[in-house]
């Protein structure tokens, strides 16, 4: 497969994942805000934009700034996903293209700033629903070969980083002595965290509706069966990388080791240890993801020509 094609598929998938989690997270907090926030919203928006990956403090300085940050991230991510798909239209199924193209045009309409301010949930729902549809279509219409594996790799690397960031930002704010997770206001925030990962219903099936911080952490980080947990994503990412490695017959030792380290961190770190240094744990996951991303580029996409000729 051409490196350029792999690159486009990988980014198409990453951007769509980004559009989806940004929509969902914005949706959850716009919802929470309606009943809970008085005034500017206090610490909510700085926390949300940080969880969404913003490095710029002004993005979360008030509700209006956070709203426009979230909106532009959703709309731009959809646009970028579609632009990447457009570059490789003949490599994906026409059903995939049509769905992404439909989402793009719809997002232009319901994501216009005026419209979004009045009816934000239209865009939020449409983006999440369409992303789900897209992945279903992808699974059922595309060859599950190398290209499909790059789509999986992009999707899960993006998801893992997001979940890790989200948990980190939330625990820093709400997992402190003196705060009671069972109080009405706090409870809603913990619920919001789970909902940002579509995890509430699944959590209930495992632990009942009683929300305890260490259980929430365990569920979102370490659960092996829940598709938005970090461990699940890392496992899928590893599988995709394995399959790509086999399909291309490249001996990418380093990439396999990095994926292995990440998987080991999630399989073998005791929960107590994670809880005592959650911020470092999350940062470490994100750092390893960054290395894997760089590794994918070095091995498959932007490798130096001399190295490839020498091999």
């Amino acid at each position: 497969m051409l490196s350029r094609v792999a690159d486009s598929l990988y980014w198409m998938s990453r951007y769509l994942e980004r559009a989806e989690y940004t929509s969902r997270t914005m949706g959850v907090h716009l919802n929470l805000m309606l009943e809970h926030d008085i005034g500017s919203g206090g610490s909510r928006w700085p926390r949300v934009v940080t969880a969404l990956g913003s490095q710029d403090k002004t993005d979360g300085e008030d509700f209006a700034a956070a709203e426009s940050y979230g909106l532009s991230q959703i709309v731009n991510s959809i646009g970028a996903a579609r632009e990447n798909a457009r570059q490789v239209r003949e490599q994906i199924s026409s059903e995939m293209w049509e769905e992404l193209n439909r989402l793009f045009h719809e997002s232009k309409r319901i994501g216009a700033p005026e419209r979004f301010r009045a009816q934000p949930f239209d865009l939020v729902h449409t983006a999440c629903e369409s992303a789900h549809l897209f992945h279903g279509i992808t699974d059922s219409t595309m060859l599950h070969g190398e290209g499909w594996q790059f789509i999986q790799a992009g999707r899960f690397i993006e998801r893992v980083q997001h979940t890790a960031r989200l948990v980190d930002a939330h625990f820093e704010e709400f997992h402190r002595p003196g705060l009671d997770p069972a109080s009405a206001a706090e409870h809603m925030e913990w619920l919001g965290l789970l909902r940002s990962c579509t995890a509430f219903e699944a959590y209930c099936k495992v632990y009942t509706a009683e929300l305890r911080p260490e259980r929430v952490a365990e569920f979102l980080l370490l659960n092996a069966e829940f598709p938005h947990s970090v461990r699940f994503g890392v496992e899928r990412l590893g599988r995709a990388l394995d399959a790509i490695n086999q399909a291309t017959a490249r001996k990418s030792d380093r990439l396999a080791k990095q994926a292995g380290r990440l998987a080991a961190a999630l399989s073998y770190t005791p929960l107590e240890e994670i809880m005592s240094s959650l911020h470092e744990f999350s940062a470490n996951i994100r750092r390893l993801c960054g290395q894997i991303h760089a590794g994918i580029y070095q091995v498959y996409i932007a490798y130096p020509i001399e190295a490839a000729l020498g091999a």
């Binding site: 497969m1 051409l2 490196s3 350029r4 792999a6 457009r86 570059q87 239209r89 003949e90 190398e146 790509i244 399909a247 291309t248 017959a249 490249r250 498959y300 996409i301 490798y303 020509i305 490839a308 000729l309 091999a311």
Partner: protein, 486 residues
């Protein structure tokens, strides 16, 4: 079967007219020609509502397949569906036989000519074509001198534009020897038509064109450098913003070869590689749909980002085949066109089977004076342009347009030729319930590898605007499926 709609109404023929131009359907006796009889009967039989339904079904099918092209000039290239007329253009096997022989002769001679001017130049020494015409052509590439291409085949893929004159004979209007396009419309429209008119196909006996992609692949394989077996063949596209991108993706998929952009290729030690996830893979044959000028910034236009630096040197080193070869545009220059009959005579010692259209070269003082006196009667064309741009159609022009062209011709005579305004043939078109004649041309596609292959058919382009003589899709033209009968 009881049709649910009004069956008493049929496609109207009231607005059909016959005059000096050759009509593809009706003969001199105003009766349908033998090979059009089945279509004519169907038009009389089928209720109008059913015709409309079929037309709509065909349009929807083109829309869904995304068969579009880009129109330049207006706000950043608007994407449009290629207009398609429902009624096929039909050619008899005898007519086709002449076309086939004529095109085979022409491509053979033009290949010999290209090989000659880039090597020994005998034809120039012998005065067959004036040196100035060749060397002043903007598509002449001196970088190609003294280098022989695999099997001496310069043009492997050709789309020649033919028109039919009032006497019923086909003549050549233009040779397209660089990167001719449109073949995907020929192939996709046939698929649609088979669904729309199954009964007519059965009755008429239409020859198949399905083997085009396979023949193209075989042609490219035959040009493998140093006769390498099992060459890695790729299609080089300028990318998604190119007006023919649909065709590039379509052909690559049909042939099962990789669709690459310049940035996917890299040259090392005069070998061309494509960058894949499994490492670099050598490329042997490039079916390039990128113009000469843009193909290698080190050799041609330095600002090009579509090409591959170093590609031309790898090509000259004989490590990769480019098809068509670089510099073939010199032989489809509109001024050189006037010399093609002499080229055929010189290289093959034969008379041309397909004639040229009478052409006046504005670079010749007497011919220029003749044209300038009669601008209202001639079609004036810029020699380097294609796609119907840079053209004056005398009888339909305004006085200002004629003055503008007079100035242009006088300041750069080499750049212009003139041809009489031709009454080229008309074929019936289904236009909103009524059947009316419109001017058509014909572009068959010729492939030259181990042998010459011409799939029986081509792209019939039609000037859908009433009275218009311009068939280019960028100027209100459309297409028709072309049927060659058994």
């Amino acid at each position: 079967m009881t049709p649910a709609f009004d069956t008493s109404q049929h496609a109207r023929f009231e607005d059909y007219w016959l005059d000096g131009a050759y009509d593809e359907m009706f003969g001199a006796d105003n009766l349908p020609r033998e090979h059009y009889r089945a279509l004519h009967e169907l038009l009389l039989e089928l209720p109008l509502a059913e015709m409309r339904r079929r037309k709509q079904s065909a349009d929807v099918s083109f829309l869904h397949q995304g068969i579009t092209f880009t129109v330049y000039g207006r706000e950043e290239g608007t994407e449009r569906i290629f207009p398609h007329d429902l009624l096929p253009r039909i050619i008899t096997s005898a007519e086709w036989e002449t076309i086939e022989r004529g095109l085979t002769q022409r491509i053979t001679a033009l290949n010999l000519f290209l090989c000659d001017i880039y090597n020994d130049s005998h034809s120039l020494d012998d005065g067959v074509v004036p040196r100035e015409i060749v060397y002043s052509c903007k598509h002449f590439r001196r970088q190609m001198r003294g280098f022989s291409v695999p099997k001496n085949i310069y043009v492997a893929v050709v789309g020649t534009d033919l028109i039919r004159l009032p006497n019923g004979r086909f003549v050549v209007l233009e040779d397209n020897l660089r990167v001719p396009s449109g073949v995907s419309y020929m192939l996709t429209s046939r698929q649609v038509m088979k669904r729309i008119f199954p009964e007519l196909f059965r009755k008429a006996g239409v020859r198949s064109i399905d083997h085009y992609s396979e023949s193209l692949l075989a042609t490219l394989r035959a040009l493998s450098p140093q006769g390498r077996p099992d060459p890695n063949i790729v299609l080089l596209t300028p990318g998604i913003y190119n007006s023919a991108y649909f065709e590039h993706a379509f052909l690559a998929r049909q042939m099962g070869i990789e669709l690459v952009e310049g940035r996917d290729l890299t040259v090392h030690d005069n070998q061309v590689y494509m960058r894949t996830t499994a490492g670099l893979r050598r490329v042997d044959v490039i079916y390039r749909r990128v113009d000469d000028d843009f193909i290698d910034p080190l050799t041609f236009r330095p600002e090009s980002t579509l090409g591959v630096p170093g590609l031309f040197n790898a090509y000259r080193a004989g490590n990769v085949t480019l098809s068509n070869a670089i510099g073939t545009g010199v032989a489809d220059d509109k001024a050189l066109y006037a010399y093609v009959p002499r080229i055929i005579k010189y290289f093959l010692n034969q008379d041309p089977i397909l004639d040229n259209v009478e052409t006046f070269l504005c670079s010749e003082p007497t011919e220029r004076a003749h044209v300038l006196d009669r601008l209202d009667r001639y079609v004036v064309k810029a020699v380097g342009e294609s796609g119907g741009y840079g053209m004056l159609i005398g009888p339909y022009s305004t006085a200002e347009e004629r003055e503008e062209f007079r100035r242009r011709i006088q300041s750069d005579p080499r750049n212009y030729i003139a041809q009489p305004t031709l009454q080229f043939s008309r074929a019936p078109c289904f236009l909103d319930g009524s059947v009316e004649p419109r001017h058509v041309d014909l572009r068959p596609y010729v492939l030259y590898g181990d042998k010459i292959t011409i799939v029986p058919g081509g792209l019939t382009r039609v000037a859908l605007r009433k009275g218009s003589l311009v068939v280019n899709s960028s100027q209100g033209g459309g297409s028709k499926d072309t049927w060659v009968l058994h």
